[in-house]
């Protein structure tokens, strides 16, 4: 599904990483570990076409992302990718159902259908009946559940999670990681978890360590 070959990124004269290779198939859930500042989030952005790579090839479903124009990348992200961020990024002025349904806005779904899908997605992450609640009423762990529901509502082929437990305590982190893994597997998607935490990475099928010279198993 996703193939990275010789991917490199530099900021000015500084080489962030070079020669990153990765192969990921549907149903696989892998973790990329690395210290802060090593370029984990940058690598995730490259995979999603949010930043350009300086060298190498990024193939998603046999499509070369590095050659796609912005419009096509936007469509790809909308239809095929789901994101979970460390800081949740839940909009304070929208209800939980509205936040979760956000990715469906551009897909031409009827409002009733979007609402039903959002309710189902919230139920799947353990927030049954909380559709009209507002983000301020939720704990950090619950907000991250909302973010997971939002990432998966569009049935993405690839889920990209950037330090999803960075703002959570140990117990909430454990629950969110288990939920994320279960949801990715249940949807038959591929998942990439980027984290600095060894404990979080343990929830993945495979682990890779990001270093300036590339990705290495471990």
């Amino acid at each position: 599904m996703l193939r990275l070959k010789g991917v490199s990124k530099r900021f000015g004269a500084r080489v962030v990483f070079a020669n990153v290779d990765l192969a990921l198939d549907a149903g696989e859930y892998v973790a990329i570990i690395g210290e802060s500042g090593v370029g984990k989030s940058t690598l995730l952005n490259l995979m999603a076409g949010l930043e350009p790579a300086d060298a190498g090839s990024i193939l998603f479903e046999e499509v070369e992302l590095t050659r796609l124009p912005d419009d096509a990348l936007t469509l790809l992200r909308r239809d095929q990718f789901g994101f979970v961020f460390q800081a949740f990024h839940v909009l304070a002025h929208l209800s939980l159902a509205q936040n979760v349904a956000l990715p469906l806005l551009l897909r031409g779904r009827a409002p009733g259908e979007s609402a039903a899908l959002a309710a189902a997605a919230l139920a799947a992450v353990g927030l049954t009946g909380r559709e009209t609640s507002m983000p301020r009423e939720l704990s950090g762990g619950e907000l991250q559940r909302v973010a997971i529901a939002r990432a998966l509502i569009g049935k993405p082929r690839l889920v990209l999670a950037d330090e999803p437990t960075g703002n959570l305590d140990q117990e909430n982190a454990r629950q969110v990681l288990a939920l994320l893994r279960a949801q990715v597997k249940q949807h038959g998607a591929a998942g990439i978890l980027v984290t600095h935490s060894e404990a979080a990475a343990a929830s993945a099928d495979r682990r890779y360590r990001l270093r300036p010279e590339g990705l290495a198993p471990g």
């Binding site: 800081a87 949740f88 839940v90 909009l91 304070a92 509205q98």
Partner: protein, 326 residues
């Protein structure tokens, strides 16, 4: 999907009372032409400030060149008005708004590739270019500007329900336009488009990762704001019967910015409150002292310090557009 950012009831009540007061003023103050004209100008500036707030308060796009559209619409009306008869309101208004939409589209395509301080400076640069084109154009009247001798003619297939020459009639047209723009913006911001715009202000990267073409959304907002500013500029030119380069100046953009900040950014009623407060204070202070600008400046500093969310926050707290949880 309804947005859960309804303004506080106290503010809604103030708005209703204010609108009712404005609606009955011409009935009880028919002889007070000066004040009717003054209130009409305040309402025009409120429309202008609301259009700017769509960019600043909801899109996070601080423009210092918004007066360009205000002035362009006025000059379009002037150009289409024959010397001794009024221009058709429908044709001149459509032309003015069309010019503003086109200008905003072209400018937006270029300036929206920048952000932050660069965005502010580039919008200012475009407006200043337009200002000097108008200022140096003999056809457009140069620095003196030109008169719009006759007000536009409102007619439906030859039937004229009323004449805009009558101040009271024009006053009600402006009041209706103010209410219309207010409700249009509320509808727009409660729509999926509004949700996305607020999401972009909160975190553009997040919206891009969700698959939203953020540039297109910002461009549409920029064009809508330009057209609404043009609507205000058209009304201002028709009301005053005069256009001059000051309509496009950075002072004009700055005044609208002050109104938005004073009233409250990202609050639908904030710019109306800001326009009312600023113009009313200006009126009071100018009749009292020649150093009125000093006192006005002090007042604005005081309001910003005491009410950082603007005068609208006097009537209750609300989550401002663009807030993010997490």
């Amino acid at each position: 999907m309804a947005m859960h950012d309804a303004q506080p009831r106290a503010l809604a009540l103030v708005l209703v009372i204010g609108l009712a007061g404005l609606a009955v003023f011409p009935i009880f103050g028919a002889d007070e032409k000066f004040y009717m004209q003054f209130l009409a100008k305040v309402m025009v500036m409120a429309i202008f400030a609301m259009s700017l707030d769509l960019l600043i308060g909801y899109g996070g796009l601080v423009s210092l060149g918004h007066a360009m559209y205000f002035g362009l619409a006025g000059y379009t009306l002037m150009s289409l008005t024959p010397e001794y008869e009024g221009a058709s309101l429908w044709i001149s208004l459509a032309a003015a708004l069309g010019v503003c939409a086109l200008a905003a589209l072209v400018v937006g395509l270029l300036v929206l590739r920048t952000s932050g301080i660069y965005f502010i400076m580039v919008t200012l640069a475009f407006a200043q270019m337009a200002y000097y084109v108008v200022h140096d154009s003999k056809y457009l009247g140069g620095s003196d500007g030109k008169y719009v001798y006759v007000k536009p003619v409102l007619s439906f297939f030859g039937w004229q329900p009323f004449s805009l020459d009558k101040l009271a009639a024009f006053y009600y047209v402006i009041l209706g336009t103010l209410a219309g723009v207010y409700f249009l913006l509320r509808l727009l911001l409660a729509s999926p488009f509004g949700h996305v715009l607020v999401g972009i202000k909160a975190n553009e990267h997040r919206m891009r990762s969700l698959g939203f073409p953020t540039f297109s959304y910002k461009l549409v907002a920029f064009v809508i704001a330009g057209v609404l500013a043009g609507l205000a500029g058209y009304l201002a030119a028709a009301l005053d019967g005069l256009v001059n380069p000051e309509l496009l100046s950075w002072h004009q953009s700055g005044q609208a910015l002050m109104m938005v900040i004073l009233g409250g950014m990202g609050t639908p009623a904030g710019p109306i409150l800001g326009a009312g407060a600023l113009k009313l204070l200006e009126l009071l202070l100018t009749s009292w002292t020649k150093h009125w600008q000093l006192l006005l400046g002090l007042f604005i500093v005081l309001v910003v310090l005491v009410f950082p969310n603007g005068l609208a926050s006097l009537f209750g707290k609300r989550k401002r557009g663009g807030a993010e949880h997490g």
